[in-house]
């Protein structure tokens, strides 16, 4: 394994010898998606605090990992298998923001991933999505598609047995898949330091017979580069890659969490100096492509998009009692049909 890949330094300068296949136009697009993610997080956390939104896990601090990896995919043919903190990656991949928002509002039909959007549902049973992602990638190849699957996991999730089983099987069948591990240093309150004795999660790939790459997860250019390499390798039959994006969870596990009980404030402050969005803004400012005026107009634009999605999600049909029985069986057992009548008609 090479050392940690990096292009853009925290101060916005390019690392010595640093080069990226991400041009300035794509970098501006990446910045827009990262800002959209940050602004959405801030808005829905505020709504959650007012009791108007479900339990939510923000992506703050991890935007470069999430967007840099998603930008490497072709939404027309590739698939995203999320954990649950990659919301804006799935939106970039074609999932309307109002649909994923409706899920957090407990809606049923309005939260259904539309046909043609190659995204699987979020997965709260940690790492359970990984064997499924391996199977999906393997199956797409068996079906003759040239698709690649990007599967997300965290540092905590890498301790699960499913992580091992999924990567092992993917190596054996040479599945066209990228395992994208966001090491955000925390699994709720459990530090990465006690999650594993390995000095690098990327090293684990060697045990499965494929390549592991470590990248500065707060550097959208470097993330994009390693993700593109891995996607191209998978598409051309080269098999899986494990990417460890080293980042930091700048907010909290989810809206029920309280990091002040376990997180060293110095560590938190230090992490803030490595903010993935600010470094892109500094870099673009250095090139004369970013200033306060541009920031204000992009903020307003993205905020408006987010508001529209929120409004659509709030206005979408509320769940009905009958939805308890929706989408379980293609042909419902008669016993379940009877229970439905019991609920809906008061009959038993």
């Amino acid at each position: 394994m090479e050392s940690r890949r990096s292009v853009l330094m925290p101060d916005g300068t390019v690392a010595p010898g640093g080069k990226s296949r991400m041009d300035e136009e794509l970098l501006l697009e990446a910045l827009r998606w990262m800002m959209k993610s940050r602004l959405y997080d801030q808005r829905v956390i505020a709504l959650q605090r007012q009791g108007q939104f479900g339990v939510y896990s923000p992506a703050m601090g991890q935007e470069a990992s999430i967007i840099g990896s998603a930008l490497a995919l072709d939404p027309q043919r590739d698939w995203i298998v999320p954990q649950y903190r990659e919301l804006m990656a799935t939106v970039h991949h074609g999932l309307p923001l109002e649909v994923i928002t409706a899920q957090y509002l407990g809606k049923i039909a309005p939260a259904r991933i539309p046909e043609g959007v190659n995204v699987l549902p979020t997965q709260v049973a940690i790492a359970a999505q990984l064997p499924q992602a391996t199977g999906l990638a393997w199956g797409l190849r068996l079906r003759g598609k040239d698709a690649v699957v990007m599967a997300y996991i965290g540092d905590g999730g890498s301790s699960e047995g499913d992580f091992h089983e999924a990567l092992n099987l993917a190596g054996v069948v040479k599945a066209p898949i990228v395992f994208f591990l966001q090491n955000n240093q925390w699994a709720i309150s459990t530090s990465r330091r006690v999650q594993s004795a390995t000095r690098s999660f990327a090293l684990r790939a060697a045990g499965y017979g494929f390549e592991g790459v470590e990248v500065d997860g707060n550097d959208v250019m470097a993330v994009y580069d390693v993700a593109c390499d891995a996607v191209e390798k998978a598409r051309s039959g080269g098999g899986p890659t494990l990417i460890e994006a080293v980042t930091y969870r700048m907010s909290f596990h989810n809206t029920t969490d309280n990091p002040s009980r376990y997180e060293d404030p110095k560590e938190h402050q230090e992490a803030r100096t490595r903010d993935p969005i600010e470094r892109v803004q500094r870099h673009l400012a250095g090139l004369g492509l970013w200033d306060e005026k541009r920031e204000a107009s992009m903020t307003a634009e993205v905020r408006e998009e987010n508001e529209q999605a929120l409004q659509l999600a709030y206005a979408a049909d509320a769940p009905k009692p009958a939805d308890v029985f929706a989408n379980v069986y293609a042909d419902e057992p008669s016993r379940v049909a009877r229970q439905r009548s019991e609920l809906l008609d008061g009959e038993s």
Binding site: R112, P121, Q132, L136, D162
Partner: protein, 325 residues
Amino acid sequence: MPERNVVEAINSALADEMEADPRVMVLGLDVGKLGGVFRTTSGLVEKFGAARVIDTPLAEASIVGASLGLALAGMVPVAEIQFLGFTAQGFHQIGPQLGKYRQRSRGRYHCQVTIRAPFGGGIKSPEFHSDAVEAQFVQTPGIKIVMPSNAYDAKGLLIEAIRDPDPVLFCEPDRLYRAGRMEVPDGGYTVPFGKARLARDGDHVTLIAWSAAVELCLRAADMLVAEGISAAVLDLRTLVPLDVETLCAQVVKTGRCVIVHEAPVSAGFGAEISATLMEEVFYDLDAPVARVGAFDVPFPASSLEDYYLPSVDRVLAAVRRTMEV
């Protein structure tokens, strides 16, 4: 018509469905050249190739989890878990994942996955191989649970399972794998889920069972003739969906019943049947519902299995108690 035992019937179902539908694939431990530890997949890799008959790494959760993903990609996987007891190491991918996937995705996705797993005592297997844990999956809605008791049903129910758009756990009675042959047609036919089968008619008492326990009940019914007791045997075939209608009608007819299964009696599926009968036909019962199961201890060393499992003698004793009321 050709005669087949249960192993041959299952093999025939797999071969027919793989022939008919190129999306159907078989994966699991040792399912390739070996043909499975019971030879149920014998000859398939030679006929359909190593891309559709796959020896997987030894890892139950990924056999099932990958099958879920394969189904999402448009394949129709038939996964083999070598013994039902080993589903413990993949349980979360079966009940919570496969069973919920259609609901979790708001109907966008469904999982056309069949999981085959032999189970049951009576063949002196090592530890963990014999456990009858079928009732655990009844508590994970979304999974259909199929328990064939003979070769004809095994083929027809397996084809029905493979064609079902939703996940099916297909439990095979290993004790009966080679217990004899019966007429099993060539070509695809199905036996519907949720239709119990009257394996033997009788007037005085109904023995309710599934899988290998049906064979046990048939032997018991034969012996009861000498005592002047006419026992019916009802084979449920599937636990989910459950044929409540036939179950209740049959028990009303005899007024007495004994439920027989290989799982430990406490919270075995017999408890669910008993509760259902209480709710539905209590006033038509002439005697309390009786249950014969394994004892509430872990499956013992195979040298003791004949004492642990329900036996003909224990079924006869339960029938006699029931008839005395």
